[in-house]
Subunit: 360 residues, 2 copies
Amino acid sequence: MDISNRYCVIMCGGVGSRFWPYSRANAPKQFIDFFGTGRTLLQMSFDRTKDVVPTENVIILTNEQYAPLVKEQLPELKDAQILLEPTRRNTAPCIAWAAYHIKALNPDALIMVAPSDHLVLKEDEFKRCINKGFDFVAENDALLTLGIKPSRPETGYGYIQIGNAVTDSISKVKTFTEKPNVELAKVFLSTGEFFWNSGMFLWSVDSILKAVQECAPDIAVQFDKGVGLYGTSAEMQFIKQNFASCPGISIDFAVMEKSKNVYVECVDFGWDDLGTWGALYDNSPKNHEGNVTENCKAMLFNCNDCVVAAKGDKLIVASHLKDYIIAVADDVVLIVPKSEEQKIKNYVNEVKTAYGDKYL
Amino acid sequence: MDISNRYCVIMCGGVGSRFWPYSRANAPKQFIDFFGTGRTLLQMSFDRTKDVVPTENVIILTNEQYAPLVKEQLPELKDAQILLEPTRRNTAPCIAWAAYHIKALNPDALIMVAPSDHLVLKEDEFKRCINKGFDFVAENDALLTLGIKPSRPETGYGYIQIGNAVTDSISKVKTFTEKPNVELAKVFLSTGEFFWNSGMFLWSVDSILKAVQECAPDIAVQFDKGVGLYGTSAEMQFIKQNFASCPGISIDFAVMEKSKNVYVECVDFGWDDLGTWGALYDNSPKNHEGNVTENCKAMLFNCNDCVVAAKGDKLIVASHLKDYIIAVADDVVLIVPKSEEQKIKNYVNEVKTAYGDKYL
C-alpha cells in the first residue's frame, strides 16, 4: 500500500478550560499525560498516525504560544511540520490553511484531520478504518467524516444521521444535528441512524479546497491571496498578516453542513472526545469504590465515584465525598460535584475577573 | 511594680499533627501565622509577655529541630534564652529543666509557663490576670494554674473543679478532670464550679522545684545530677546526655494532680487552645455563608460553614461543600468533614505508613 500521498493534520490549539485547573492556559489538556501512561494526549494522537501516514507528512496546527510544548513533546517533527496560528479562529480557518499548505507540498495529497485531545482505545481498528477512509477519498470527490457508533444517549456530542449507504460502512450524510437533549438523544440511539460527530475528517486536498471555495468563500478569499507563498519561507509572514482576517467558525458550520458531497464512515474504535470530567471518569479505570485517580497519589476514605487529578507529586487526602471532582495544580485547588462540572467555565470566568490571568 | 524576678517559659516543641497538612512536621502550628495578622502564634505568645515579664527573662523551650525557626521568628532573643530539647518527653521534663535552669540564673525567680500555640483575645485582661497570679505566687508556696471560664460544653479540654476560695478569683483546686463526654461537660458547665485547664501555670522557682522533687522524683533525680552546670556552658552537654532518661509525662499527671498546694486562678480573657479545626473555626471571622478562610484566596460557591486554610498564594475554588475542612500545603491537599476531624491523626498515620516522612 502506497501511503506517501497521505497527510495528517493534528489540530492542537485548544485551551481546555473545562479541565481547569488540571489543564491550564499554559499547558492545556492535549499536552497532559492524562492517564499516566508516559504519553500525553497529543503524543498518543501522533502515535496513532504511524503506519497510516508517513511521519514526515504529519502536520501540527497549534497556537504560537504552544510551539515550545509541541516541539518538546514531538521531537520527531521538523519545525516545518508545525504550523503556528497567530490567533485563535476556530477549526475552519485552521483546516483551510492546512489544505493550502499541503497543496503546495503535494497536489495529490490525501488528508486526515484529527483533534489532538481525543481518546482512541482500539488502535488497530482505528488504523483499519482510517485506511478504508483514505481509500474512499482517494477514489471519490468526497468529504468524509468519521461517525462513532454511539454507546449511550450522550448529550454532549453532535450527531450525524446517515443517509444512503455507499459501501458497507460508508454512507451519504443525511443531517448534522447539534447536541440533543436527553430525550432526543435516546431516540437517536434507538433508531440506529445516528452517529457521534468525532471531528475527524478525511479528504483529498482538491476536494477540501473546492469545498472551502464553494461553501466558505470568505475564508477562501483570504488564503487565495497567499497562493505561491505556501511551503516557502514567506508563508508565515503572510499568515501573520492575513490569518486574523478569517472569521472564527467551525469546519462543521462553514463547510460540512453546506457541502453536497459529504459522507460518513461509521466506526467503532473506542473513541471518546474526553471533553468533560464525566467522560474522563467513564474512560478511566476505577477502584473498588468507584474512584478514579489521574496521575497522583490519593488516599480516599469513605469516598465514592470521585475523580481526582493532580499535577506533580501531590498527595490528595479526602474523606466523605461522593461524586466529586478534585483537580489540583501547583497554585489552585478545585473541588466541585461532578453534576456541577458545566459550571467550571463560570468559575474560571470569576477567577479571571478577580485575579486576571494569574490562575488561568 | 518590680518585675525583674519574673520569668516566662514558653513551651514550643509541639508537632501540631492535628492541623496537618496546613501544619507540617517541619513547621508546626505555633510557627504559622494562622490569622494572617503578620505574627505567628509563637510571636503572639511572646508579644503577650511584654509588660508582665522582662524580655531578657523569656525562655523558649523547643525541640532542637525548631531552633532555626525560633531564632528567625524571635530575633529579639539571645541564644541563651532558647533551650533545645534533644528529644520529646512531654511537658513535665520540659518544665522541670526550665525550673532548674532558672534557679541557677535567679534563685528568687517567679515563673509563668505558657504554651506557644494558644489564642488569647483579650490581652489587657490577660496581663491583669497574670500580674495578679504573679503576686499570689510571690507571697504563697503555691502551684497556680489558670482556669478558663467555660463558654460551651467543650469535650476537647480537661476541666478543673474549684474548691475553697482564697481570694476573689483564686481558689484551691478540688479535682482535675480529663476530657468529659458531652453530657458530663454540660453538667460541668451548669454547676459553675468547673473551669477549662489552660495549660498555663505560675509559681516561684522554689515551689515548682520542691513539687517536682516530691511528686516526680524520677524526673528530679535526673536534673539533680546537673546542679552546678545549669546556666553554664556545660548545661547543654549535660542535657544531651540525661534528658532522654526522663519519663515522657505531662506536668498535670506528674505534679499538678499529686501536689497538695495547687490553686486555680479563674480567668476569662478570650482564651482558646486552638487544638482543633473546630476551635480555629469558632475563633475566626466568618463570611455571610459561615465560611472561614485562613490566609488564602478562596472562591466558594454554595459552600457553608467550611474552613479553608492554604499555605502560600494559593487559590481554592470549591462548590457544594458544607461543614468541610480544606487544608492545602504545597504537596498535600486534605478535604475532610469537620465532624471527622479527629480522624485526621489516623490519616496522617496512614500517610506515614504509605509514604514515610515525605508528606508529614
